[in-house]
């Protein structure tokens, strides 16, 4: 199986889906001539032409709306947001138009559209460029929210997202684009709504997604040295949430720490914890803890930024707390 970067896995998914379906097109800022702000669309303009790889003005509300309108009449737009920080300008189109159209029209008009791009913090990009918004979109009935952590998941999930008949918010990780992994060639899809056990374990469940999968795996490695065997469950899709995989893991380990990059208040982890306590309260041997981003706008300073982020040390501390060990 070939080893690809996360970036090239996404590129491969886009290329394959554009070959497969003439109605798929890519639109966004710098996706064409510039080859993508993060080079995810490298080579696509040359391969598919300016009709299907469309550079836009810097007008997120506008081109998100163009995507919705095109999807309403049968095209399958992939709308690239240079980052999800900028997608805030398009939230009206995503929430009021894309997410509601099928329902308001009594099923007459769907919006098969993918809005994709990087979310969350990179390094020292400061407050306006370092935000994780998945809980915002996951709050909205009518949207699906997908967040791959590995190159293989990136490919398989993006292909499924493009084929999905609903608006899909597909949040990538800027810090993941250069990560490498084995990626199946050709037709390879992963159904939306399925979590994945990235590391089996018996003592505690670490629920995570996107960039925090690497954080959880690193913590699990270090915990193993202490004889603690952590299971790492990668949600992969935030909505619909694969509660079955989470619950079956926690029912075996009886302890759980939820790790996410975003702010904790009303975050994704809050939903996970709610599900666990409602469904399998009697299985728990300790309160479920959460490791999240600090409740601050992201500071620029490198040391302060590090303090604000979820990291393996914070995860290890939480795990030891739910295991009642030091």
């Amino acid at each position: 199986m070939p080893t690809l970067t996360y970036r090239d896995a996404l590129n491969q998914a886009l290329r394959e889906e554009m070959h497969r379906d003439e109605s798929v097109f890519l639109m966004g800022e710098e996706v064409g001539v510039y080859q993508g702000a993060y080079k995810v669309s490298r080579g696509l303009l040359e391969e598919f032409g300016a009709r299907r790889v469309v550079d836009t003005p810097i007008t997120e509300l506008g081109f998100a709306g163009v995507g919705v309108g095109a999807a309403m009449v049968g095209l399958r737009p992939v709308i690239e947001m240079m980052t999800f920080n900028f997608a805030l300008l398009a939230v009206d189109q995503i929430v009021n138009s894309a997410a509601k159209m099928r329902y308001m029209s009594n099923g007459q008009v769907g919006v098969p559209m993918v809005v994709r791009g990087p979310g969350g913090a990179a390094l020292q990009l400061a407050a306006q460029h370092s935000q994780a918004f998945e809980s915002w979109y996951a709050h909205i009935p009518g949207l699906k929210v997908v967040m791959p952590a590995t190159p293989a998941d990136a490919k398989g999930l993006l292909k499924s997202a493009i084929r999905d008949d609903n608006p899909v918010i597909f949040i990538e990780g800027e810090m993941l684009y250069n990560t490498k992994g084995e990626v199946p060639e050709g037709e390879y899809t992963i159904p939306l709504g399925l979590a994945d056990v990235k590391r089996p374990g018996t003592d505690v469940t670490l629920v995570c997604h996107s960039k925090t999968v690497a954080v959880a795996l690193k913590a699990a490695d270090q915990l193993a040295a202490d004889g603690i065997n952590a299971e790492v469950v990668d949600l992969r899709t935030i909505r619909p949430l694969d509660t079955a995989t989470v619950l079956s893991s926690v029912a075996r380990t009886h302890r759980c720490v939820v790790v996410e990059e975003g702010w904790g208040f009303a975050g994704v982890g809050a939903q996970v914890v709610d599900t666990i306590q409602r469904e399998i309260f009697d299985e728990l041997d300790a309160p479920v803890l959460r490791v999240t981003g600090a409740e601050v706008p992201m500071p620029y300073n490198k040391q302060l930024e590090k303090l604000a982020k979820a990291d393996p040390a914070k995860v290890i501390a939480a795990v030891k707390q739910v295991l009642y060990v030091d």
Partner: protein, 338 residues
Amino acid sequence: MAGTATKPGRKTVDPATAELWRSWLRQMLLIRRFEEKAGEAYSLGKIGGFCHLYIGQEAVAVGTIASLRPDDYITASYREHGQALVRGISPRAVMAELFGKAAGCSGGKGGSMHLFDASRGFLGGHGIVGGHIPLTTGMAFAIKYRGTEQVAICYFGEAAVNNGAFHEALNMAALWKLPAIYICENNRYGMGTALERASAIYDISERACSYDMANEVVDGQDVIAVKAAMDRAVQRAREEKLPTLLEVRTYRFMGHSMSDPIHGHYRTKEEVEEQRKRDPIAVWSQRLIADGLMSEDDVKAMDKSVVEEIEDAYRFADEAPDPAPEMLFRDVYAPEAS
């Protein structure tokens, strides 16, 4: 006010044109009587939520939609009962939607502001001011993408031109040469704010200059003038593949919605009465009578048949069942592919 194409007193009209012109009067009457009945039903509590009436603006919907083909795409704001009726959604289906009934054109789940009939290319009433304008640009993008001969048209009020969605959508339509027609129904007030209190320039059509886009101002109380201007815009879109901003100057005879008084603090009773002298239905029926194409009795008989049709729609909507409870969760997401 620019561009009146009406020349009363002309007698030489072929029978097909005469029939078409009479149908425009019937469509305007249909909207008027429908809206009056909707207002009555709202007062009786049979219609809930917001209900924005189209009374006074009938010639705009009739004159513009008359230029379209059945496969063209239409989006509109929340003041869209008139366009929906002219596009051919039955008064029964529209009234039932206002009543929130299962037989409504959006299954009772959209209401007054969200009328849909995809089979007629009627792709929504939309509730966020200006938010639907980029959708029309997207539909026009899809038309160009597929290389068909369709056009995409969009209705919005003059208050929408001050927000970013309008600017962004028109810029892209001009940049990419898309077959879109942006119809600004300038009824002078965004809710209670007069145009002059909201816009730095008063001539909406001039906004098109920012995008090097074709534009025209037309008297929205004169159906034949509206039709002529729309014909030019449609030809530009269908044949030259270029967008147009069409400013249609009209007037809202009622309040912003059913919750509002007709004039309130923001305009005078005298102003409304003055504007009512140019009632588009009176303007057009007088023209047809002057041209000898209808008698006063013909107009009365037409009105009577319209009233009967609306009464039927009202009864139908009133008696129709609510959506079944299980419809609550239907169509949030697409059905899973098998």
